[in-house]
């Protein structure tokens, strides 16, 4: 598959939300997200001991489909580039989209927590009495 061109942040978030929504409808599957330093294809290699220059980050997302699925065009692979000064803004939105999309994770169980507390109280009382 030819590398797809990086999307703008807005497009990336729209597509990422779509990617997650497919997962909410199905009962199995994965979403792969990754981040690494972006080195432009025509960049000059830096000497090893040179101080680290600020660089953009490359964020990728994929549904991990391969082989047959790829031939059927089911593979989705998107990417975007985040400049160092946009990091904070990007990640706030990124966190929002991820939180919305990862709905299959266990929600905070308040019932259980309160039951445990009650249990503790109940358990402590006889001990104190004894």
């Amino acid at each position: 598959m030819a590398p797809t061109a990086p999307l703008s942040h807005d497009e990336f978030f729209v597509k990422l939300a779509e990617l997650f929504s497919v997962r909410t409808d199905q009962d199995h599957g994965s979403i792969h997200l990754s981040q690494k330093r972006y080195i432009p294809p025509n960049a000059q290699p830096q000497p090893e001991d040179a101080p680290l220059q600020p660089a953009a980050l490359l964020i990728r997302a994929s549904n991990g489909k391969s082989k047959d699925h790829r031939a059927k065009g089911e593979k989705i692979k998107i990417s975007t580039i985040v400049e160092p000064d946009q990091l904070d803004g990007f990640y706030t939105r990124y966190a929002e989209v991820c939180r919305g999309g990862m709905a299959g994770l266990k929600p905070r169980d308040r019932k259980k927590a309160s039951a445990k507390k009650k249990k503790k109280k109940g358990g402590a009382a006889p001990a104190a009495a004894a």
Binding site: L33, S34, L57, D88, C98, G101, G104, L105
Partner: protein, 157 residues
């Protein structure tokens, strides 16, 4: 290496990023699996032999897990963290952007404002605390006669 606590993972990952910011990559994988494994062919065969009805598929929602992995192909170091809790997602993603993302981008974490610097300080305080907590937990389990409790918890997961 798999870390039990996200703080430990964050600490080790930031050390790795500091050492090799140019090659290290962070991967986040969100996986959903059906709540129950489908019956094996032999199990279905057994049930049909005994003329018993097949159990109905469960209405349980599918399980999901989130795995964070920091990997450096040059040194071969892989640091992992697993979770199934929705409450952690926001915090984990902000870790990816805040301390880890800034290091990866080559920004100076100390110069980047108070928020991030504070996090760094907290992290340093957290690290030794995290080491001491498992000991406390095991002690509590021992004195409280909590061996059975521990087993129960494992089963629920």
């Amino acid at each position: 290496m798999l870390y039990e606590k996200s703080e430990d993972w964050l600490h080790q990952s930031s050390l790795l990023l500091e050492a090799r910011p140019e090659t290290t990559k962070i991967t986040t994988t969100y996986t959903k699996t059906p709540a129950r494994r489908p019956l094996s062919k032999s199990a279905i065969q057994k049930l049909s032999d005994a003329n018993q009805p097949l159990p109905e598929p469960t209405a349980l929602p599918p399980r999901a897990t989130l795995e964070l992995r920091t990997y450096c192909p040059v040194s071969g170091v892989a640091l992992k963290y697993h979770t199934t809790k929705a409450a952690e997602v926001g915090r984990l993603i902000s870790m990816l952007g805040g301390p880890l993302g800034r290091r990866m981008a080559g920004l100076n974490v100390e110069e980047s404002g108070n928020g991030v610097k504070k996090e760094e300080d907290e992290e340093m305080i957290d690290a030794p605390a995290a080491e001491s907590t498992p000991v406390q937990q095991t002690q509590q389990a021992g004195t409280g006669g909590g061996a059975a409790k521990g087993k129960k918890k494992k089963g629920k997961r």
